[in-house]
């Protein structure tokens, strides 16, 4: 055993970090053999069909389930009252407010809310029987507009019910006669004085409509009881959260609930927190049944949406074009249940003045109940909606000064070490670098032929800022197997961002392993350790740090065992490809040999564990100020060159460049895909993506009516640009990238339209009809 290292490389010659490793599951995904959650084997199940509310706000006077029950194959019909009778208040769940029952109790608060759930032997019967449920409603005045919700006297909830998760919401307990469930306020400097002394002020009333995530994989949840345990297989980005939520609801121990998920067919924020799980789990646990709920695309439209957001904002600059004050009144239409809306309102409110040095700022950001589908997290966590406001305003302000919009921003952008309006210092957030990269990519300073027949051409730019979710927790467990393969246990969910691949790369980098040597286990709360959530672009940094740490611990452990075996000191030892070498003697032991000598058996494993937790300093309740409101920042920018067809109002994008400061790209190919994917989704939000409501009814909630970007909507050129300003505490300097690209897209396009035809749009999306009407002097 052992040997000299004459022919072995001392250094790891196949560095993993910074390499564009192929996605670990790529081949199976292309061949179609990849198994998603709904493909997992589960016990023989009964199926659920949901009868949904047809009224936005009404008392439930009577539910007639008799004809549904008579249908052959129907096992039972469950109502909210049934569950409330068993679980009482515990049946209400939610991440910020425990305000949502899995099935409506007493009253319905949005069209599409579950009122009764049929359990049947097959899916077709379950759905058909759900149609046979008859509900008698006592109509209540519906709260449908976010501003009416603030001023009116009809209330979606009798009183506020903060959950136990966030201690800072406790004081809201029991508050009544309001639809505002949360308000974030930011103040710095003296806005009135600064405005009075300023040279120019611009203002606007902005609106972003609600949109649908439309992850192409539909939601699926299956639950069954085994002994005294509940097994759940579900499409979720938050397995750890779901386990806690179900255990609390059913009042059982955490180890009595097992939640599993496969990599998702897209999430974008939709598959988070309480979706189908409380409903399916409650029915399974209560009646000791194996049940499965698979919902249709139409049902996913009413399950969750992106927030519709109204922003009234102002920005002022002094005589040399430096921004001196900024204000924003932001209203998040959160729908019938708060979900994580209060957090969205604060985390977005704190950046509502944009990535600029502004000494005097005032923001009020409110989260508001209405009688609509509950809005939740959506790629960008509310920030794209405030970016729509600040990037439109700053563009107008530049034009007021007759200055180039890019140059105007460059003067005002936050730089390393600057303090942002909420009081936190900037680090590793290269706004200027991102903006310069995208403008130069599209030839910002080259001449542009503006009028070409009926077409008018223009260019636009926008910059975005977002804080990473803080505080959050990630854990990792690593097993090194005797044959130098490794098994990584984490609860981060791969939903296309490629986390399984980059986490494997981090382990491989530290332990000098190759592409096929690290396996990442799919989230399973019986096996994989707690992780706050897979969202908010947090995984590369948080889970990445936990994974780096767990691999480093493994390296230390191996070295310490090897040092004993080799009879040298630990500091003399170095981990290299496949083994440990003593520098002094050049004696070498392979991992296989180390493990065999250590354990005296074959097939053995070494285990390490780690935790990575980020801290923040909660912002001041009155001023919104905090010296550390987040662990780190995301910086992104987009620039676009486009033409507007003045006959049809159609926008044609010739070139869209998007840049994100990712700290360091662990896998550049995957980072580029995230940038491209975010840009394409953002392009949909800019041009046509919109949920249309009429009297509380969604009127385009099917994919026949809801438009999404297709391959034909691709810009002629799409240029993703990676900017790398290593973060001092990121794993290898890395930060996340999932949301960076989507944030500046819509305003960059609107700014280019403004440049092309001279019209400022304040409402999204920029449909041909809206453009035509505006060019004819009507509409916005």
């Amino acid at each position: 055993m052992g040997g000299d290292l004459t022919n072995l490389e001392i250094e790891n010659d196949a560095a993993a970090v910074g390499q564009s490793w192929q996605r670990s599951d790529l081949e199976a995904k292309v061949r179609g053999t990849f198994r998603y959650t709904a493909d997992l084997p589960v016990p023989r199940c009964l199926y659920l069909g949901v009868h949904r509310a047809s009224q936005p706000h009404a008392r439930i006077l009577n539910i007639d389930i008799s004809s549904a029950l008579e249908m052959p194959g129907v096992v039972r019909v469950v109502t909210g009252a049934d569950l409330f009778g068993i679980y009482g208040e515990l049946i209400y769940t939610g991440p910020a407010f425990a305000d949502q029952p899995p099935i409506a109790i007493d009253k319905v608060r949005y069209v599409g809310e579950p009122i009764a759930v049929v359990v049947a032997t097959d899916l077709i019967t379950a759905r058909a029987a759900a149609d046979e449920v008859y509900v008698e409603y006592g109509e209540l005045p519906a709260v449908l507009d976010v501003d009416d919700a603030i001023s009116g006297s009809d209330y979606v909830h009798e009183h506020l019910r903060p959950s136990s998760v966030f201690s800072d919401l406790k004081h809201l307990q029991g508050r009544g006669e309001t639809n505002v469930n949360y308000e974030y306020n930011l103040t710095s400097g003296d806005v009135e004085k600064a405005k009075a002394n300023s040279d120019k002020t611009v203002s606007g009333e902005f609106w972003c409509p609600p949109t649908s995530h439309v992850a192409i994989e539909l939601f699926s949840t299956t639950a069954w009881v085994e002994g005294n345990r509940l097994e759940v297989v579900t499409t979720t980005q938050t397995p750890s959260y779901v386990r806690q939520a179900l255990a609390s609801m059913l009042d059982i121990r955490l180890n009595q609930v097992r939640v599993r998920t496969q990599p998702l067919g897209g999430g974008f924020g939709s598959k988070m927190y309480d979706r189908l799980e409380p409903l399916v789990a409650a029915i399974s646990w209560t009646y000791k049944l194996a049940v499965k709920l698979e919902i249709t695309r139409e049902e996913t439209f009413v399950l969750t949406t992106r927030h519709g957001v109204a922003v009234s904002s102002q920005m002022s600059a002094d005589s040399i074009g430096m921004i001196v004050s900024a204000e924003a009144d932001v209203r998040y239409d959160t729908g019938a249940y708060a979900d994580i809306g209060p957090r969205i309102a604060s985390k977005s409110g704190m950046v509502a003045c944009g990535p600029y040095k502004v000494a005097n700022a005032r923001v009020r950001s409110r989260c508001i109940y209405t009688n609509k589908t509950s809005a939740g997290p959506f790629r960008g966590f509310g920030v794209p909606q405030v970016t729509w406001s600040h990037e439109s305003l700053v563009d107008e302000l530049a034009r007021e000064f007759g200055e180039d919009p890019a140059q105007f921003r460059r003067k005002n952008l936050l730089r390393e070490g600057d303090v942002a309006p909420m009081g936190t210092v900037m680090h590793s957030a290269d706004f200027v670098g991102c903006m310069d990269a995208v403008t130069s990519a599209i030839g910002w300073n080259t001449p542009l032929e503006r009028a070409r027949g009926p077409w008018r051409w223009g260019r636009g730019v926008a910059v975005g800022i977002k804080a990473v979710l803080t505080p959050t927790i990630s854990n990792a467990v690593l097993q090194l197997n005797q044959d130098a393969s490794a098994t990584l246990l984490i609860s981060t969910v791969d939903m296309g961002q490629g986390s399984d691949t980059i986490m494997a790369q981090i382990v491989a980098e530290i332990l000098c392993l190759g592409p096929d040597q690290v396996r990442v286990v799919n989230p399973d709360t019986d096996i994989t350790p707690y992780d706050t959530i897979t969202a908010g672009s947090r995984s590369t940094y948080h889970t990445g740090n936990a994974v780096k740490k767990v691999a480093e611990r493994m390296r230390e452990k191996l070295i310490s065992i090897a040092a004993q075996l080799l009879g040298v000191s630990e500091t003399d030892c170095k981990l290299t490809n496949g083994g440990v070498v003593a520098s002094s003697s050049q004696k070498y032991l392979s991992i296989d040999e180390i493990m065999q000598l250590h354990f005296g058996a074959i097939g053995t494993t070494l285990t390490t564990e780690s935790n990575f937790t980020t801290e923040w300093i909660p912002y001041d309740k009155e001023t919104g100020q905090s010296v550390k409101v987040t662990e780190h920042w995301f910086a992104g920018a987009a620039a676009v060159e486009l033409g507007v067809d003045t006959r049809t109002g159609r926008i044609h994008i010739a070139h869209l460049a998007v840049a994100g400061d990712v700290g360091r790209a662990i896998n550049p190919a995957l980072v580029k895909q995230q940038l491209e994917g975010g840009a394409i989704m953002g392009l949909g939000h800019a041009l046509f993506d919109e949920i249309v409501m009429d009297h509380g009814q969604m009127i385009n909630g099917t994919l026949l009516d809801y438009q999404l970007p297709s391959v034909k909507d691709l810009p002629d050129r799409l240029t993703p640009i990676i900017i790398e300003n290593p973060h001092q505490t990121g794993p290898f300097g890395a930060k996340g990238v999932g949301e960076t690209a989507i944030i500046p897209i819509a305003p960059s396009i609107a700014n280019a339209v403004r440049d092309a035809i001279g019209i400022r749009f304040t409402r999204l999306p920029l449909t041909p009809e809206r453009l035509l009407m505006a060019m004819a002097g009507e509409g916005d």
Binding site: S20, Q22, R23, D25, L26, E27, A28, K29, V30, R31, G32, T33, F34, R35, Y36, D39, H213, V214, A215, I216, E217, L218, P263, L264, G265, G266, F268, T296, R297, M495, G496, Q497, G498, A669, Q673, E676, G677, G678, A679, I680, M681, T702, L703, L704, L708, P709, S710, V711, K712, L714, L718
Partner: protein, 155 residues
């Protein structure tokens, strides 16, 4: 009714109800590459080839396929150039929509071996990739077309 069709080159005899959808039949038999994304023919994630023509299996009654030959992405050859080029170009993020695109590209290249970029766009317009892997998908289609040409020349 009792019916017989070919799936990926193998004869399959089954009993189906008149209202059963091809999507459900194929998934039931175990072809999980065929996936529902919308159920109304608007996303393409359920695309399969029936007698060489792409169909949205969420809109097709299984009983109508009696005697037909059906191809799903699981049935493509090990060295299928479309599959190889999707892999080479990293043309997938979440991957859910990808088999549908693979089948659409297969159909296109068998009808039109050297498509222009515009023809690729036209052919793939009905398929939605919410992750936005379109640039890689289009590149994979072009590369697969080239690869097919080269392999023809060298044969």
């Amino acid at each position: 009714m009792n019916m017989v069709f070919q799936i990926n080159g193998r004869d399959v005899g089954i009993e189906v109800s008149d209202s059963e959808l091809l999507l459900d039949t194929l998934r039931h038999i175990g072809f999980s590459s065929v996936r529902e994304g919308c159920g109304v023919g608007a996303c393409g994630s359920c695309t399969v080839l029936v007698d060489g023509k792409s169909v949205s299996s969420c809109l097709v009654l299984t009983s109508r396929c009696n005697g037909s030959s059906i191809l799903t992405s699981e049935g493509l050859a090990d060295d299928d150039p479309v599959v190889s080029q999707f892999i080479k170009n990293g043309a997938a993020q979440c991957g859910y929509c990808i088999p549908g695109f693979v089948m659409m590209v297969s159909e296109l290249l068998s009808e039109n071996p050297i498509p222009t970029e515009q023809e690729i766009y036209n052919h793939l317009e009905g398929n939605i990739c919410r992750c936005g892997s379109y640039p890689e998908i289009v590149q994979a289609a072009m590369d697969a077309s080239k690869a097919k040409q080269t392999s023809k020349l060298t044969c």
